[in-house]
């Protein structure tokens, strides 16, 4: 069986399932909404979102939270498409 990091069915994993739930933080809702709106606008589709997530380095994939993966993917794909300039978010965050 290929072990691509996102392809988890049957992956050996004895970790007990953590059933604690958390209400989505504002930034997580915003991230979700950005993806939905980018999709509705035809800028980036859900297949590109998934593909972008799958292109994360495996260690990063496993360490990231759910919406952190979405963020990685959107930055990655939008930069690839030229919607974002390379380093544009970094520059804005450190401004």
């Amino acid at each position: 069986m290929e072990h691509v990091v996102h392809d988890r069915g049957g992956w050996p994993d004895d970790t007990p399932i953590d059933r604690a739930e958390h209400e989505l933080a504002e930034w997580e809702l915003l991230m979700d909404a950005l993806v939905g709106t980018l999709g509705a606008r035809g800028v980036m589709n859900v297949d590109e979102l998934r593909r972008g997530i799958e292109e994360m380095p495996p260690v990063s994939y496993e360490a990231a939270s759910y919406y952190e993966r979405w963020l990685f993917s959107v930055e990655h794909v939008l930069t690839e498409k030229g919607v974002l300039a390379p380093g544009e978010i970094d520059a804005r965050v450190s401004a």
Partner: protein
């Protein structure tokens, strides 16, 4: 660090770095005219309006109306529209009926596909690596973790939503509910029973 920085509200929250990046991303996309603030806000409003109560209405209707149940099983999206629900952008939702002999359980091993328009956002555990790996390979053990033990002769059917279709479980109607009105029945239908990791609540 200067005294002023201690009063900066952003640095005093426990947000991850990602939070700042997401806000920066949103700001940049709006500035560039890629997205509008109003449509982002409308999308947030839609997301927070989705709750399992919608899915529960479909289940309760199916419990009291056999013809509706057949329509629900045939085309859940059309059935949702029929009762005035907004089935959302997902093109196809399929309802799966639990019986005394079969119990369905839904997972997305590849990511986190989930019928959000009918159930709201998925719980963290549904998106967890542990659930995604073991739901398909050890479903009985996973159900035990959730406190559900099924008889050995009940067939467990794990459904991996690998593509564009979203799945909703119609749990079995609990015993002792014959006299209940639809609203009261809907109140027994939990989110977890529509994912397939729990049974509905027993009547009071």
């Amino acid at each position: 660090m200067s005294h002023d920085h201690d009063h900066d509200p952003i640095t005093h929250t426990h947000e991850p770095e990602a939070a700042t990046r997401v806000r920066a991303l949103a700001a940049i996309l709006v500035e560039k005219g890629v997205l509008g603030e109003d449509e982002i806000r409308a999308r947030i409003d839609w997301l927070v309006s989705r709750t399992p109560a919608d899915g529960a209405r479909l289940v309760a209707r199916a419990w009291v109306d056999d013809a509706f149940k057949e329509r629900l099983l045939e085309d859940a999206r059309a059935a949702a529209l029929e009762v005035g629900l907004d089935p959302g952008p997902s093109p196809v939702v399929v309802a799966l009926e639990n019986t005394p002999a079969t119990h369905h359980m839904v997972v997305c091993t590849l990511c986190s596909c989930y019928p959000r328009s009918l159930l709201g956002p998925p719980p963290d555990w549904y998106k967890s690596l542990a659930y995604r790996s073991r739901a398909v390979s050890a479903p009985r053990a996973v159900l035990t973790e959730f406190g559900l033990t099924l008889a050995g002769d009940v067939e467990i059917r794990v459904v991996d939503s690998t593509a564009d279709v979203r799945y909703l479980v119609i749990p079995q109607r609990p015993p002792g509910t014959d006299g209940l009105a639809e609203d009261a029945l809907a109140a027994l239908v939990t989110r977890d029973s529509m994912i397939g990791v729990a049974q509905p609540l027993a009547p009071a």
